[in-house]
C-alpha cells in the first residue's frame, strides 16, 4: 500500500472485506442443513485449523515474527479450559477467556525476553519452539492436569450453550467455532485498519525506520504477539470442548505448531483470506486418506491399515507450495488478477 492509500480508500477496502466476511459466514452457516452429519466433524476441524491459521498469521504474517511455537498458546488455552471445567465445573466460555489471558501473558513475557535480547529470524523461531517444548515437557509430568494420561472432560446430560455441550451430531458446535473464527477474522481486519495495524506493518517492513519515526516498536510487537496468542488459545479451549479430551502431545506437541503454520503458508501468508483457504484445503486431508485406507482400491491395497499418508500429502503440498507458489494459493491468485487488471 502506498501513500495514496488514504483513509477513504482503506475505508472502502475494509468495508468490502467485512461485507465478504459476513456474506461468506452466512453462507457457510447454512452448511449443517446441507451436509450429511458425518461431514460436520470435518467442517469443525477445518474451522479449528482456520482459527489457528488466522491467529498465526497475525503474528507471523502481518507481524513478520516467524513463530514455530504456537503449540504453547494452543496448549495453554486447551489446558486452562480443560482444567477449569474438569476440576471446578467452570463454563468453557470463562475457560476460553482465562486461557486467552494466560496465553497472551505467556506470549508477551517470552516475546519481551526474545525482543529484549534481539532475537531475529531463525533464532526467534527456535526460541518460540523451545518455549513450546518446555511447556510440553512440564505438562508431561504435571500431576494437577493428570500428566501424560491427559484430561477427560465429563459428558453432560442434555444441551447447554453455557457449558458448550450438545448431543452428538448437533450443529451447534459448528456454529460456535464458526462464530469464533469469524470474530477472529473481523478482529484481524479491524486491527489492520487501525493506526496500530499501520504501525505493525511498518515495523515488519523496516524496524529501524519505524523506530526512528518514534513508533514504540516493542509495544506493538508485543501487542501483535498477545493478540495472536489469545486467538490461538481460544482454538485450544474449543478443541478440548469438542473432543472432550486433551493430553500434552495433543496440546503442546510440535505437530500443533506445524498445524498453526500450514493454513497461512498454503493459503497465503499475510493475507486475510489465505489462512481460511489453506484450512479448507488441509482440514479434509486426514479424513480423505483415512477413508481411502480403510477400504483401499486395488492399486493401494498394500497400504491398508498403515498410517502416515495424510502427513505425506500435506508435506508434499507444502513442498510444492514453497517452490511453486511462495505467496500461497490466494496470494498467487491475487497477484495474477492484480497484474491482469492493470
Amino acid at each position: 500500500m502506498t501513500a495514496a492509500g488514504t483513509g477513504t480508500h482503506t475505508g472502502t477496502r475494509t468495508g468490502r472485506q467485512l461485507l465478504v466476511l459476513v456474506i461468506g459466514a452466512a453462507a457457510v452457516a447454512t452448511l449443517p442443513f446441507i451436509l450429511p452429519p458425518a461431514q460436520e466433524a470435518v467442517a469443525v476441524r477445518i474451522l479449528i485449523f482456520a482459527l489457528m491459521g488466522v491467529a498465526w498469521n497475525v503474528m507471523s504474517g502481518y507481524g513478520g515474527m516467524f513463530s514455530f511455537g504456537h503449540a504453547a498458546y494452543f496448549g495453554l488455552g486447551a489446558y486452562a479450559g480443560g482444567y477449569l471445567i474438569v476440576r471446578h465445573g467452570v463454563s468453557p466460555w470463562i475457560g476460553m477467556a482465562v486461557g486467552a489471558a494466560l496465553a497472551a501473558a505467556f506470549g508477551v513475557t517470552t516475546g519481551f525476553l526474545a525482543f529484549r535480547y534481539r532475537l531475529k529470524g531463525a533464532y526467534f523461531a527456535l526460541a518460540t519452539f523451545a518455549f513450546a517444548e518446555m511447556l510440553h515437557l512440564l505438562a508431561l509430568s504435571f500431576e494437577p492436569i493428570e500428566a501424560a494420561a491427559g484430561l477427560n472432560v465429563p459428558l453432560l446430560q442434555g444441551s447447554s450453550w453455557w457449558m458448550l455441550q450438545f448431543p452428538p451430531g448437533s450443529p451447534n458446535y459448528f456454529w460456535a467455532i464458526l462464530a469464533l473464527t469469524v470474530l477472529a477474522v473481523a478482529a484481524t481486519i479491524a486491527l489492520l485498519r487501525s493506526k496500530s495495524g499501520g504501525y505493525v506493518i511498518a515495523i515488519r517492513e523496516d524496524e529501524q525506520a519505524a523506530s526512528s519515526l518514534g513508533i514504540p516498536v516493542m509495544r506493538y510487537k508485543l501487542l501483535t504477539v498477545g493478540v495472536s496468542a489469545a486467538m490461538t488459545a481460544v482454538a485450544g479451549a474449543f478443541y478440548v470442548q469438542y473432543y472432550l479430551y486433551i493430553n500434552p502431545d495433543l496440546a503442546f506437541g510440535s505437530a500443533v505448531s506445524i498445524q498453526a503454520i500450514l493454513p497461512s503458508v498454503i493459503g497465503g501468508i499475510g493475507t486475510i483470506w489465505g489462512p481460511l483457504i489453506g484450512a479448507a484445503v488441509l482440514g479434509p486431508l486426514s479424513d480423505v486418506t483415512a477413508t481411502l485406507l480403510r477400504d483401499p482400491p486395488a492399486a493401494l491395497a498394500f497400504l491398508e491399515g498403515r498410517s502416515g499418508l495424510d502427513v505425506i500429502l500435506y508435506a508434499a503440498l507444502l513442498i510444492v507450495i514453497v517452490l511453486a507458489l511462495p505467496k500461497g494459493v490466494y496470494g498467487a491468485l491475487r497477484s495474477y488478477f492484480a497484474r491482469g487488471s492493470t
Binding site: S60, F66, F68, L113, A114, Y117, R118, L119, G121, A122, Y123, A125, L126, A127, A130, F131, E133, M134, L137, L138, L140, S141, I258, I261, V265, I269, L303, R306, S307, G308, L309, V311, I312, Y314, A315, A316, L318, I319, V322, L323, P326
Partner: protein, 319 residues
C-alpha cells in the same frame, strides 16, 4: 581482536568448566551418590559425542547455506533403517553398514540440495525453513508408511558392558562415541586441509567474494548439504544398535542438534563437537538434578539461556 580473542575464549571455557563443576557438585548433593554422578557423566559424554557428530552436519549446513534444516533428523532415521535392513537381511555387521549408509545419505543430500533446496537459495528464511520441514515430514511419514509403527532394533553380537569409575557403559555406546570423534576429526581435516574444504569455508565467509574468485557457489552448496547429511547418516548408523528405531527417532536428535549448533556457534564445527559433549552432560545431569522432570527440560533451559545471553555461541565472535 587478535590479542584479546584467545584470552576471552579461555575465559569463556573457564566459565563453562566452572558451571560444569558447580552442576557436578549439585548433582552429588542431590543424589548423595558418587556412582550416580559418574554414571551420568559417562553416559552424557558418550551420547554427547554422537550429538556432536549430528550437530557438525547441521552446523555446516547452517553456517554455509544459512538454512535451518528441519530434515536433518529424518535423514538420520533413513540411515538407521538402512542399518536395520542391511544388518537383518544381508547379515552385515551393523558398523560395516556405515560404508553403505554414509555414502547413500551423501547422495540423498546431493539430490535434495540440487533438486529442491537450491531453488530457494536467497529467498526468505521462512521459505527455506518450511521447505526442509516439508522434506523432513515427508521422509518421516514415508518411513512410517513403509515400515509401520512397531519399533525395530539392531542386534550386535559382541555387546558387553565396560566399567570405569564405578560407572557402566555399553560397548555399543563406546563405539558410537569413538566413531563420532573419528568422523568429526575427518570432517575437520577435510574442511581445513583440502581445496574443497577451503572453498566451502570461503563460501561460508563470503558467498559473493567466493563467486568472484571462481568458486562455483551452487556446487559448494550441494556438496555442503551432502556432507552434512552424510554426518547425520553416519550418526544414524552409529546409534542404531542402542536406540529403538522408529520413524520419529531422528526428530529428537534434530532438536538437540539445534541446541548444540547454537551453543557451539553457528557454522563452528569444533564448537558443535564441544557443544555436543556439553549438551550430553546437561541432559544426563539435568536428569539427576530434576529426577521427576524429563531430562530434556534442562537442555531447553540451557538453550534459551544461550539464545538470550550468547546467541553467537560459546565459541563465536561477538558481532
Amino acid at each position: 581482536m587478535t590479542r584479546r580473542a584467545p584470552l576471552s575464549l579461555a575465559a569463556r571455557l573457564a566459565v563453562a568448566a566452572a558451571v560444569v563443576a558447580v552442576v557436578l557438585v549439585l548433582a552429588y548433593a542431590r543424589s548423595g551418590s558418587g556412582i550416580v554422578v559418574s554414571q551420568a557423566v559417562l553416559t552424557g559424554l558418550l551420547l554427547g559425542g554422537v550429538y556432536g557428530l549430528v550437530a557438525m552436519g547441521l552446523t555446516l549446513i547452517f553456517g554455509v547455506l544459512d538454512i535451518v534444516n528441519f530434515a536433518h533428523g529424518a535423514l538420520m532415521t533413513v540411515a538407521m533403517y538402512g542399518t536395520v535392513l542391511l544388518a537383518s537381511h544381508a547379515g552385515l555387521d551393523p558398523y560395516l553398514t556405515l560404508l553403505v549408509t554414509a555414502p547413500a545419505l551423501f547422495g540423498i543430500g546431493m539430490a535434495l540440495q540440487s533438486g529442491l533446496i537450491n531453488r530457494t537459495m536467497g529467498s526468505s528464511l521462512a521459505n527455506q525453513l518450511l521447505l526442509t520441514l516439508g522434506i523432513g515430514l515427508l521422509i518421516e511419514n514415508v518411513l512410517l508408511l513403509s515400515f509401520g509403527s512397531e519399533p525395530r532394533s539392531v542386534a550386535v553380537g559382541y555387546a558387553a558392558p565396560l566399567r570405569a569409575f564405578g560407572a557402566v557403559a555399553d560397548l555399543t555406546r563406546v563405539i558410537a562415541f569413538l566413531g563420532a570423534l573419528g568422523l568429526a576429526a575427518l570432517l575437520y581435516l577435510l574442511l581445513q586441509r583440502t581445496r574443497v574444504g577451503t572453498a566451502i569455508r570461503a563460501v561460508a565467509a563470503n558467498p559473493d567474494g567466493a563467486q568472484l574468485v571462481g568458486i562455483d557457489v551452487r556446487r559448494m552448496y550441494v556438496l555442503t548439504f551432502a556432507l552434512g547429511t552424510a554426518c547425520a547418516g553416519a550418526a544414524g548408523t552409529l546409534v542404531a544398535p542402542f536406540v529403538t528405531v522408529e520413524a520419529t527417532t531422528g526428530e529428537l536428535f534434530n532438536i538437540i542438534a539445534f541446541v548444540v549448533v547454537v551453543l557451539g556457534g553457528m557454522g563452528n564445527v569444533v564448537g558443535a563437537l564441544v557443544g555436543g559433549l556439553l549438551i550430553g552432560l546437561t541432559e544426563q545431569l539435568g536428569g539427576v538434578l530434576l529426577p521427576e522432570q524429563s531430562p530434556l527440560l534442562a537442555v531447553f533451559v540451557v538453550f534459551v539461556l544461550v539464545l538470550f545471553l550468547r546467541p553467537q555461541g560459546l565459541f563465536g565472535r561477538s558481532s
